[in-house]
Each structure stands twice: as C-alpha cells, then as structure tokens.
Amino acid sequence: MNRERAETFLRLLAEAELRGPALPPLPAPTPSDTPLVMMSVALTRAAWALTAVGALDPETAQAVLADTDLAVAARHRLEPPEAGVISSAGPARVAGWAGRLTGWAGSGQAAGPAGPARFARATLLARTGGRAPRAGASPPALPQGGPARYVPIGQLVLFHDETISAEFGLMSYAHTASGARLIAAWQARDPLSSGRRGPPPVEAFTVTDDRGNRYALLLDTKGRPAPTCDLSLRPDPPPGVRWLDITAPGEQAVRVDLERAAQMPAPEVSDVGLSAGEHLLNRIAERLLTLASEFPTQLASMTPVPLTGLSVGLGVVIAALEAAEVLSPQSPVPGRLATLCASLGVRGHGVTSAPALDLPETWLSLLSHYHRRKPDTAPAGDGFAAVAAALPELDGIRLVLLGLHNCDGGTWLNALTLGSWADRPVHHGPLGLEANFPLSIWVRDSGGRWHVARSTGWHSDAGEATLTLRLTPPLTRSSPWIEVLATGPSAEVRATVPLCWGYRP
C-alpha cells in the first residue's frame, strides 16, 4: 500500500477536475440548504475508496475535498443580473463527511446557492494538524471475559386477548457480555379483523428458569426491521441455566430448552488471497447485483438497468486503487466488474479493463436467476428458522447467526457481530457499502443457488452490534440448510448451517 501515491492521485484528480470543463455560472439564489457546489462523483468516490481500503486517512481525504470544494466555489461567478448582489439566503447547512460521501449523487459540477450560502459550506473544516491513527491498522479486540452462549430454539409463544392475537417465533437465545436475550419474529393481529397490530405486551409475560429465578422481558428492536426484535431478559440468567418457562397471560407455559446444541459442522477458514482493492471491488459488484434486483423487468428483457448513479466513477475508483498499490494492474477483478456491468446493462462506469469471462460462481448464480425468462420469483411463505452459529473471527469481526425468517416476500438473516468494529457508528459509503462492516456475505441454499446478503439494520452497543441481513433473491422454499460464505479482506469462512424451521410467526 502506498499512501503517498494515494494522496497524490486524489490531489491530481482534483486538479484535473478544476481545469476541466468551464465552470458554470451560479444560478439565481436558491434555498439555503441546497448543497453549495457538487464536485464530480468520481472525485468523491475515489476519496471514499482510498479511505475504505485504508490508503488514505479520512481527515486527509476530507481536507482534499474541502479544499477542492472551496476552489470550485471560488471560481464561480454570479450570473447577470445577480452579479454583485448579495443574496438574502441564509447560511447553508454544515454538511459532514458522511453527508459528503453519501449525498452527492449528481455528476459534474453543479452550482448551488449564491450569496452567503455560496461559501457557507465550502470550507467548514477545521485543521487539527496531526493525522488520526489509521482506521483498521490493528485488528480490534473482541470482548473479553463475558459469557457467550448461543442456542437455537425454534418455538412459538402465543398470546391472545380481546384486542390482540399475537405470536412470537423464538429463533435463538444469545447471552453475551451485554446481556441475555431471545431473538424473535413476531406477528400481531386484531382478532376481529385482519388488521395488523403492534407487538404484544411482553412485560405481562412471566419467565422462570430451572432454578426458580424470575425474569422480566423487554422488547427491543435494536435496529432490526419489523417483525423481528430482541426480547431481553432482566436480570441476566446465570451461566448454567438449563431452561426457561415463558408464559403469556392466559396461555400455557412454553419451555425453552437452553441445553440444545447447535448441530453444525466445523466451519472452514481459508485465505482468499485478495488484495484490499479486489475485496472492495467485489463488494461493489455485490452492491450492483443487489440493486439490480429492483429492476426485474429490465433484467428479464435484457435491457439496461438504470444504475448509472451507482456505477459512475468506477473506472476512477479502479485507477485510484491501482495508484495506491492495493490493486494490481494484472488483477482480474476489474475485468469481471466490466463483464458484470455489461451483463446487467449498467452504463457509464468508465471501467476500461477488458471484460473477463471467469466470473465467480456466486455472481453467475445471481445473473442466471435474473436473466431467466420465467424467474422463479415465488418466495417461500412466511416462517422462521432456528439458527445459532458463531463463525470464526474474520479480520477482527465475529459474526454470529441467530435466526432466519421469511416475511412479506423477503428473507432476512438475524445476526450479531462482535469486535470493536461494532462500536463504530453506521457509515454508508457513496455506493451504499458499510464502512464499518467490511465483510462480503453470501448464502447458498440447498438447491445450490446463491443469495447475496446486505445489511438492512445495524445497532451498536458496547462492542456488539445487532445486524439484520436481507438476502437477494429471497429463499424460495424452506431449505433444510444453508451454506454461509463470509469473506473479509484477508480470509473467508464457509459454514454449513442447519435450519430448524419453526411455525409461521
């Protein structure tokens, strides 16, 4: 990795942007919260990519972009007759780094407000002199000393009264340093109509263990999309607890066996031999494959998929990664990306590598699914599967799978991640990639088809993060097992995970 060349590349790219096409004049004043000046998407994406692979620290990248932002703003003139007129528009909002990276979806240099707002956002960046330690320089430590227990459950807890008819599908039990909880999918309806209701009053449930201890249940969504949640137990059960009896008012107790072992073959860990740049490009490809699913008509008819907003600047990103020496010029991944873009009909990517034919099996599986004339899109019915699988640590991240559920035509994997990555705030890059979760996750069903997993919910708390991954495409039947392939920058884990399907939630 060559950090000096990475920064030089970004600065020279900014120079090229600055002497590019003539800067347009500023239009008449617009609302004050309009972004001031948008630099090219390529520049911001190159900055993001170099930061994502650790070739550039965020402060340096931010400083380069801020300087370019001000340089562009300083070269705009007001259009007559507004020239020289100070706008009454108020100060523009202060956009942060995350906003800069995620919000600038336009292409080319577009003008924004005039007057005070003209420079209000451009350089609101204080310089601190020193550089912050590079993110990811040393692997984050996993939580130490806390109990860790993961148990598959696969049981249903019912609740009925005159206003609500509800079910909790218990997928798993997890007890970590941050506490004990049941991971559940719930469903609640009005008994007199088909209308949906909010979650049932779990605080009215009683929970006892084999030692006679009593617990309170607290419903916490923890960033999980409905209808999944964590049912936290208060206080924490002792480490050796054997079972829990959960009783909803007016219902029989449901005994939850906490000594049930997860039947899972030992996961395989292997080196992947990918450079940081290749890993990032693979994740970008997965993002393209995920988003393409939103355009089934175009995919089935082999017409271009409108994902130019996502693909623009990819060629510059590749050049930036090569400049930083995190992507070999001989790497096959840019060529694969070119083939993928061609297969999906994605244009405007700027990838100049010759298309490669050796696409990964995972990509081919999704492409064949998309291009099938009569795609098998009928999803499995709603349901949940008990899962408890702690995967080996990958690049400082330990992924624990704690349930899978089908709902409303989608399939979600409920998971927990451990490690200091989990403490970082959610930060989506310009391509929608999570900067604080640099794993690529694929799932193969028992029919041999691959499904790409993408994070849709994230909640950090004390070295842990609850994570919900949506599978694309969704599972089409109740597969008795899945193979999970998690790939980090340095290694990959393959684990075959049995699914114990529970009742309809």
Binding site: E15, D67, L70, G90, V94, F119, A126, R131
Partner: protein, 298 residues
C-alpha cells in the same frame, strides 16, 4: 528560500497594493519584499493590544493576521490560482456576506442552549463538553474559511505572492510524505497550463514529480497521440522563484530556475524544448507594467 542563489525567492517580484474596505472607508494594503504592509495602520501592534482589550479589530489588521496564519498553509496552493487566466471570483462582498451569515441568528456557530429538566449529571456534563468542542470546531472552521476568502479577495497579485511564500516555506523544510502530494499537485496544476502554451500539449498529459536535489530538475517528452506525456521533475521552489514571479514561460522558453534574480532584470535558466539543456537567458520586465502580473521578455 534560495533558488541556486543567495537571494530570497521574491527578489524578482515588484511590490503591489490594493484597496480594502476597512472601517467606514477603504485602506491601502501593500506587499513589498515578502511582507504585507499596512500604511494606514502604522501602529498595528498597538491596535492589536486594544483589540485584545475588547476594542474592534480593523479589517486590515485581520488581514495581516490571516496572511501570517496561512503563510505555510498548503491549502492555499490547492485553492489559489493556477495562472493569470484562472480567475478567482471572490470579492469583498463575498467576505462580508460570509461573515454576516456566521453571525446571523441560527447561523452555524450559534450556540444551542438546552433547557434542562433536572440538574445536570455526569452525562449532561459530557454532552455539554462535546457541544462546546463542536462549537469551537465550527468557529475555527469559519475563521479559516473567512481567512481564505479575505486573502483571495486581495486579488491575483497577492494570491500568487502568498502561493510563493507557502511554496518557499515548504521548499526550505524539504518536507516528507505528508507534504509531497500537495506540492506535486500544486506544481502540476500550474505547470500544465504553461506547458499547454509552450508545447500545445493537453494539460492532462503533464506528469510531475517533486525534484528534491539542489539541481533544477528534468523534463522529458515521450509517446505520441493519447500516449504523449511531458514528464517534469521540478523542486517546490520553482513555484516560488519562477511561477509566482511570472517567469514560468518567457518567449518560447519554459523557465526552470532563476540564476540571478532581480527586478526588472533577471537571469533565468530556460528550456527551448523538453529534454534540452537549460540555457541562461537575460530577461527584462516592464517596470511600468502591471505589478500584479509581471510580464517578462528576453
């Protein structure tokens, strides 16, 4: 900064001056021999003391402070002009408007007071400390932006002189990995348009590296068509003693170093073509011409 001579980098630059809105009127601000001059404020230090005691600070004084704060700020290389044709459209109206926007109600730096329902505990103390820190950061960023806008509003002559000062400061320090990328980009951004006029080459085909030996550097032209490249290795001091002094291109020559600096006569080393040996050239500027953009002839 010395450029093969014992003379400072600005020896080939004449003084320049401009008018600045200051208080109720306009004052002259000048630059002479590497320093900013405030003829309307003969006791600038005394005014600073008064300002520290709560008095209003004159804009001229603020400008001098801003100049000092940014005399080695690499951002000035990234933001400032790449050549006479690269017009910076920042005027005093912009400076005043940006400052007013900061002070407007609801402006970025306005403190947001929270009404507390109970006595603040440790958590509230942390929140308050974080708020203070964020506010200080916003204020620092606003001051920095307003500094830069003010310096740009001084006009092209001052802009290139500040760029020369920044480049000279870093050339003297022989900075490492942390400053080289900014210096390479600064030279590339200013050499490219000069090379376009010199050779007719596309500015995107100019590749620059930082020359760190005592010699002037090197140039090389390679390839044809889209693969054509002008590769130049120049020291950071070129920005100061050559480019900032308006000497980058004289006649049909690319000037790569100054042998005997001076105003309005100087001796420089010029290249007739890439890869050629530099030739000593006696150059002459019109002392009655515009001081902002000195025009030199052989």
């Amino acid at each position: 900064m010395i450029d093969g001579t014992n003379e400072p980098w600005f020896t080939s630059l004449p003084g320049c001056e401009t008018d600045v809105p200051c208080g109720p009127g306009r004052h002259t601000v000048g630059w002479e021999a590497g320093s900013l001059r405030l003829p309307s404020h003969p006791d600038a230090e005394g005014e600073l003391v008064l300002a520290a005691l709560g008095g209003a600070k004159a804009r001229c004084i603020e400008l001098a402070e801003a100049w000092a704060r940014h005399a080695d700020d690499l951002s000035m290389l990234a933001i400032g002009p790449r050549g006479p044709a690269d017009e910076i459209a920042v005027g005093w109206d912009d400076v005043i408007a940006a400052a007013q926007a900061d002070q407007a109600p609801g402006g970025p730096a306005q403190p947001r007071r929270m009404r507390l329902a109970s006595q603040p505990g440790p958590t509230m103390a942390r929140v308050a400390a974080r708020q203070r820190q964020m506010q200080e950061e916003v204020l620092a960023a606003q001051r920095r932006r307003n500094d830069i806008l003010s310096l740009l509003a001084l006009g092209y002559g001052f802009q290139v002189r500040l760029i020369g000062q920044v480049a000279a400061a870093h050339a003297a320090r022989a900075g490492g990995e942390r400053v080289r990328p900014a210096l390479v980009a600064a030279i590339a951004g200013r050499l490219a348009p000069v090379a376009e006029g010199w050779l007719g080459i596309d500015p995107d085909q100019v590749e620059v590296s930082l020359h760190q030996a005592r010699s002037w550097g090197s140039t090389e032209l390679t390839g044809y068509g889209a693969a054509r490249r002008l590769r130049a290795s120049l020291p950071a001091g070129w920005l100061a003693s050559v480019w900032a002094c308006g000497l980058a291109r004289v006649g049909r020559y690319l000037v790569v170093a100054v042998d005997q600096p001076g105003w309005p006569d100087a001796r420089v080393l010029g290249l007739r073509a890439p890869g050629a040996e530099p030739e000593p050239l006696d150059v002459h500027a019109d002392p009655d011409g515009p001081a902002d953009v000195p025009h030199w002839e052989i």
